[in-house]
Amino acid sequence: MKENTIALALLSALLVTPAAAQTGASKAELVRLKPNDFPTAPIEYTVVYPAGGGMDVTARLLAKYAEKWSDHRIIVNNRTGGAGMVGHAYLATQAKPDGYTVGIIANLMWGDAMLRAQGRWSYTDLEPIGYLNSDALTWVGPTEGPYKDMSVKQLVATAKDKPGTLRVATVPGSMWDYLIEQVEANTGAKVLRVPFQGGGAGINALAGGNVDIAQGFYSEFRGLADAGKVRPIGVAASERLSFLKDTPTMNEALGGNEYQWFVIRFAVVPKGTPEDRKAYLGAAIRAAMKDPELVAEYLKAGVYFDPKLTDPSRMQANLNAYAEAERAFYVKTGRLK
């Protein structure tokens, strides 16, 4: 079945290759690619969001396994501020391209580069060296009150019939807002947008009956959903998620193909990093990402793997395609000329 594709692709990648052979191959590749003069000091993984968040958890787990495979010290450093902007600008303009700085970032960097960097840097100043994981923005509905049984389609119809009554949690100036904007523009619905500082806060408000729809990532609502306090109703991804088989995509629910908003986490180095060091750093990340233990830890944390990005040879091209799709949205909505 279609919804299982992602999980199957992943599992087959893991299970078909015998673990022992895999171990040997990863190790051999690392040994082959290791430059003579590098690394002689610890490598810093820079995270631009505060410790403890989804991005930080991803980076710290990666560091743990990349360290195990490559035997060099890795330090995770949180350079926060400006909602990620300070760290992004640091990586793109200030960090030395010597291979000792690796950025563990998300595609939210594109929005910063396109809308906020004012030409001081662009997203191509950060070169991807490895794909990590993804999180799809999901609409979550209530389990009590008048909307408790409604699907996305019914909720949107309600918001069209009675404009300005349905309360939807959002995070201003981000994909949370953009998704609502698309729904409103395509369906003629009109909702009350209630601003929060993050997805989790909105889910909290939903569970407390203070909003009618919240938007968030699986890891943010899983606990409450398992307890029946909230229910996922629509996933803004191209395909259903393996752990939310019964939840339709937003595209299925509303008929369309543009409701796709997800966080893509990947590793970058500043432009100009020597090719041999770049290749080695990338190999260390690939080795870690092939480790079934790390994959299991990521899945436990509630993320998924985008099949378009798991293949290293297509990663760069597909990332760029996603970035350009985002730019197209900004141009279409008048945010960018």
């Binding site: 410790a51 403890g52 710290r60 350079r79 300070v86 009350l192 943010e220 606990g223 398992d226």
Partner: protein, 514 residues
């Protein structure tokens, strides 16, 4: 009873050599980061997070949690001794704690702070033991309108904190609001008052402001008094709280515990807000509000209890809903996730060992911290004998390290310096700094909850009347303001500070108006 059974399970988990050791280690580290100015629990937790990878989930969580509440014990130490807060939740302790130290009663202040922390921490964890799930389901109903009303009440309370000129006090509150407005607009996501600076785009860092205004300012004001070589020249009287101190303190401790616990539960609340509000409350309720700011022990007992209770309160939503209410608990959540544990309403049922282990460790941790901190009082007091020229460069250095370590952003150091100089000038002009900080802390919460409430209401401002809890709190705020206005015309004669009868009159050229 279910809870008792659970708690016994928890003690079974925690009373192993390993876990007890982690609890002790966390308490020790927590006390230390609390004592060091600038270095706060957030930075410590972030630094130590990777170490917990190698531990069991219980051991790791026990250690991280004990660092969090341990810091609340240690935080008051430098507030009292040096007039420099160890971390943001202990700012308000400077006001009376340091005055007590100047009167030679540092020991009593430190003792009451430790005992208050213990009482509040223990009461908090007792409530947690029996009511965590119930409380969590009630707290989650607390929406933006209720939050707004609570913040209004908080700001009205802080008006009672203003000492000296009311105009100057109000001006500082307004400045606090203005400064807090810098950053990203909570509703449309656009930057405002950032003047195109990336560094200002997420607002001004609280820690840098607090350490600047209190730490750097204090160092600067002391530089001009180099003649005197130590902080407290006279004999240090009595290391322990007297019977009178106890009598004055037990009620503030209990009130602080209750208030702090509630504020820990609500979104955006936490130890910092709790300590300020508790101080304001104690001053409001006190029979001798004039004694506040001059070494009233209630001004130490209340806030120091409140910040500890807030820790217990803020751990509940994380464990039983999976929802953090502040940055430190967000980090605790991250730590759990790294260990493959997803907290939520089913957490207690799914991982009783972990939930009850953490709860039990908080009983143990608070006892350990009391045993650790009481004997330390004697040692800390000796710090007062260290000459300025040694002590203050060290304090300044630690402040720089602490502020930098929080975000690794050099800009924060400039913010700290700027606020340090500004604070020095403002003190010279006899402006209070505390109202500025509390306004700075509350303003973003106030603005956000107000605009959220209006955004979620189809009937505009009517939402504040339609919800009973909100209406009640707003009416109480209005009554308090009315009361304050009516009392005003008294007009206190300034000049002679009465002080407490016991305090030895001192020939300091510059009194602590803070």
């Amino acid at each position: 009873m279910e809870s008792v059974g659970g708690l016994l399970t928890g003690f079974g988990v925690i009373l192993t050599l390993d876990n007890l050791f982690f609890c002790f280690l966390g308490s020790l580290i927590g006390t230390l980061v609390g004592v060091l100015p600038g270095v706060g629990p957030l930075a410590a937790l972030a630094l130590l997070l990777p170490i917990t990878f190698t531990m069991t989930p219980v051991g790791g969580m026990v250690m991280l949690a004990s660092i969090f509440y341990g810091a609340m014990y240690g935080g008051s130490t430098t507030s009292i001794l040096l007039n420099i807060p160890g971390e943001a939740a202990s700012v308000v302790t400077c006001l009376d704690g340091h005055q007590m130290a100047k009167q030679g009663r540092a020991g009593a202040a430190l003792g009451i702070a430790a005992i208050g922390s213990f009482v509040a921490g223990t009461l908090g964890v007792i409530v947690m033991t029996f009511f965590a799930p119930t409380i969590a389901t009630v707290a989650i109903r607390f929406g933006p309108p209720e939050n707004f009303a609570l913040m209004v009440l908080g700001i009205v309370c802080t008006l009672f904190m203003i000492t000296g000129s009311p105009v100057k006090g109000a001006l500082m509150v307004a400045l606090g609001f203005l400064t807090a407005a810098v950053g990203i607009d909570v509703v449309n996501g656009r930057e405002r008052f950032t003047f195109g600076s990336i560094d200002l785009s997420a607002g001004i860092e609280l820690l840098a402001v607090v350490i600047g205004l209190f730490g750097v300012t204090e160092v600067l004001s002391n530089v001009e008094r180099v003649v005197k070589s130590t902080l407290v020249a006279e004999r240090i009287r009595g290391l322990w709280p007297t019977l009178a101190d106890w009598r004055a303190s037990w009620r503030p401790m209990l009130r602080g515990s209750g208030l702090g616990f509630v504020l820990g539960l609500v979104p955006g609340g936490g130890p910092v807000t709790a300590s300020f509000m508790s101080y304001a409350l104690e001053k409001r309720l006190s029979a001798h509000p004039d004694g506040f700011g001059k070494g009233a022990i209630e001004g130490v007992a209340g806030p120091e209890s409140a910040n500890n209770a807030a820790v217990a309160g803020s751990i509940i939503p994380v464990l039983s809903l999976g929802i953090p209410s502040n940055a430190v608990t967000a980090l605790l959540l991250g730590a759990l996730v790294i260990h493959g544990v997803q907290p939520g309403p089913l957490f207690i049922a799914q991982r009783p060992d972990l939930f009850w282990g953490i709860v039990a460790s908080m009983y143990v941790g608070n006892v350990l911290l009391l045993l650790l901190n009481l004997p330390l009082v004697g040692l800390w007091v000796q710090f007062l004998r260290i000459p300025y020229r040694v002590l203050f460069p060290v304090v300044l250095l630690l402040s720089i390290v602490g502020v930098y370590s929080a975000n690794k952003n050099v800009f924060d150091l400039w913010v700290m310096l700027a606020f340090g100089v500004a604070g020095y000038v403002l003190l010279k002009l006899k402006y209070d700094l505390a109202p500025f900080v509390i306004a700075f802390v509350l303003a973003p919460l106030l603005e956000q909850s107000l605009r959220q409430s209006l955004a979620m209401s189809p009937d505009g401002a009517m939402i504040f009347v339609q919800r009973p809890g909100t209406a009640l709190m707003l009416v109480s705020s209005a009554l308090l303001v009315a009361l304050m206005v009516r009392r005003k015309p008294k007009g206190k004669p300034k000049g002679k500070a009465k002080g407490k009868p016991k305090g030895k009159p001192k020939g300091k050229p510059k009194g602590g108006s803070r």
